[in-house]
Point group: C2
Chain length 362, copies 2
């Protein structure tokens, strides 16, 4: 295993803030972006927080993201809006979009806001949770700008990992939260198998002929990306385990995040540098359907029932969706966010290039 | 294989109509119910059309469904409604709910309607398609009143097969449609393995200890139902293939269909006869986000791209979600709906009990 440093959340936030300031990010976008990224790291979703910074630095240096974007609502009704992200990093316009959806849903009971001309927005769950913290049901999705998911029966990757996040508030428990790629596993999990020299389970990765890949190293290009033509399976993994369902869900996300706001479909693009990202946010106010507290109380009952289930293996307790992230959050608030040495070095480089002090080593 | 009779769609419709009349179903609910059931059979979803009639007859004789229900909107805003199904068979109140959501979404851009005190509503896809035929995006879900899905790491079934259906209109192609249980496979597929004496793939069924079941016959009670304590896996099938994602999706459906409208959570009920069914319907008008025709054109482009993908096996072309159902529809409109002999006999019994002419044998 790589050596892990533990970085206090506040240090992580300071580091992110200092880099965004140095990059010239619009003042009002800095805190929302830092909030989403730090929360993502605290919740244990290491692939989507500070671990993305080296890529963001690269996108910025290539001129593919704008630090002072013109983010605007281009179409609006009392319950819908379409936002043009102005080619911004995604966290800013997505926070604006989710907050607008929350405001509209509080007024009308329901709202959907979509975003186009955005970029990577971190972990989808962060936005769904914004709604749940306000006592609302939140749903967040995004298309993704790298071909990764190979449709059932096909040979080549077509969809990004097209995640779905959903959060619902509970009375006493933390919110019920799912935050899942519609692929069987994230590309990052495949990478972990390479690092640890483990064979890949059947149903994770397919080669350019559409055949399963057992040796993780075969699937990588040496730079931590999937090798040309390789892809991950849709949720289900194998045709016999209904991978067509994951394929269908990935297509649903593509429709909500590409066709609905007007962002391009990566599957049909040869030049991924021309891709821009689309997002979909939906908010439902339970009080449009139920009396005060009824919904949250019944979600609580369900969560308590699930947590009380006897496990098949006494060493592996039954989890409620959101539990792993809540456990990570508690641990990391106390002990700091683990940052592997390789990422430390990459972040030192990002700081050097941005001409800001490197704070993460403490 | 069982012998299959082919019944013309019009005969099937007449048979259903005559039984519902004999059962005393409210006049205005008969055609919507016949429409949904016949379409479901035409689209090849045999488990959810006329195949359900023997069960509906049983529910009726037990007094668990009301033939002249008082279906009413009990809460309403311009973009939301909660409907009390009056203990009706689900197709009637669900058609009313989806039509109301369509009307509201056409006026406001977006609408969500939930239903409680309903029963089995057939295939979720039928309702999502109602929206797509009107040029709208439709989503339909329902809880289900039999414990079937065993959460990841647990031993006992907790959720019904909690399906998600989604449909989006395309310019020239038929709509993009998914209609999927959030389990790896439907219970009906396990039954087919019993009939055909085939071993079960690892990841379909678990026993009361949470262990995988290879022999399909072990999982059945001799009456075509899962044996006590047995269950199906959440989509993903195995923990190594991310069955926690299917578990999370099943939980999401439960929240939208049980807690949001106020229907009971089957997982915590000992007496399933007290369960009533809840549904969730969402409709989005693409014209709230895009100019006339843009959305449908881009969905078309995606469908065409998917259909043009080279298959891994030349004998198994890449399908677009909705293709299998569209193929079945074309075949069955021409050649009739296949009805296995066992169902023929059961339907003859239903007709005898209802004192109506048995039409299916032609």
């Amino acid at each position: 295993m790589t050596e892990l440093h533990r970085v206090p959340a506040e240090t992580l936030r300071q580091q992110l803030r200092s880099i965004f300031v140095a990059w010239g990010m619009s003042e009002d976008l800095i805190e929302p972006t830092v909030d989403v990224m730090a929360e993502t790291d605290l919740r244990g979703i290491d692939s989507h927080g500070i671990g993305m910074m080296p890529l963001y630095a690269e996108l910025r240096s290539q001129g593919r993201i704008t630090m002072q974007p013109d983010i605007k609502v281009v179409r609006e009704t009392p319950v819908t809006a379409l936002i043009d992200g102005g080619n911004s990093l995604g966290h800013g316009p997505s926070t604006i979009a989710m907050k607008l959806a929350i405001k509209k849903a509080k007024a009308a009971g329901l709202a959907a806001v979509t975003v186009r001309r955005s970029r990577h927005y971190g972990a989808a769950g962060a936005y769904a949770l914004m709604a749940a913290r306000e006592g609302l049901i939140g749903l967040a999705s995004t298309n993704a700008g790298s071909k990764a998911i190979v449709p059932t029966r096909a040979k080549e990757p077509v969809f990004g990992t097209n995640p779905i996040a959903f959060a619902a508030p509970a009375k006493n428990n933390k919110p019920f939260v799912i935050d899942m790629a519609t692929s069987t596993v994230a590309v990052g999990k495949v990478k972990l198998a390479v690092y640890n020299d483990k064979p890949l389970p059947d149903g994770w990765v397919v080669d350019p002929n559409g055949a399963g890949v057992g040796n993780a190293a075969d699937a990588f290009d040496g730079f931590g990306r999937l090798a040309e033509g390789y892809g991950v399976t849709p949720l289900g993994g194998l045709a016999s385990l209904s991978s067509h369902k994951g394929y269908g869900l990935a297509g649903m996300v593509e429709i909500l995040c590409s066709m609905l706001p007007g962002a391009p479909f990566i599957g049909a693009m040869d030049d991924k540098s021309k891709h821009h990202t689309g997002h979909f946010f939906l908010v439902i106010d339970p009080s449009a359907f139920r009396d005060e507290g009824e919904f949250e109380g019944e979600v609580d009952d369900m969560i308590n029932h699930l947590r009380g289930l006897a496990p098949a293996d006494p060493n592996l307790p039954v989890l409620v969706p959101g539990d792993p992230e809540d456990l990570a959050y508690a641990d990391r608030m106390e002990n700091g966010v683990p940052v592997p040495e390789m990422l430390m070095q990459a972040m030192a480089g990002v700081c050097r290039d941005a001409n800001v002090e490197f704070l993460l080593r403490g």
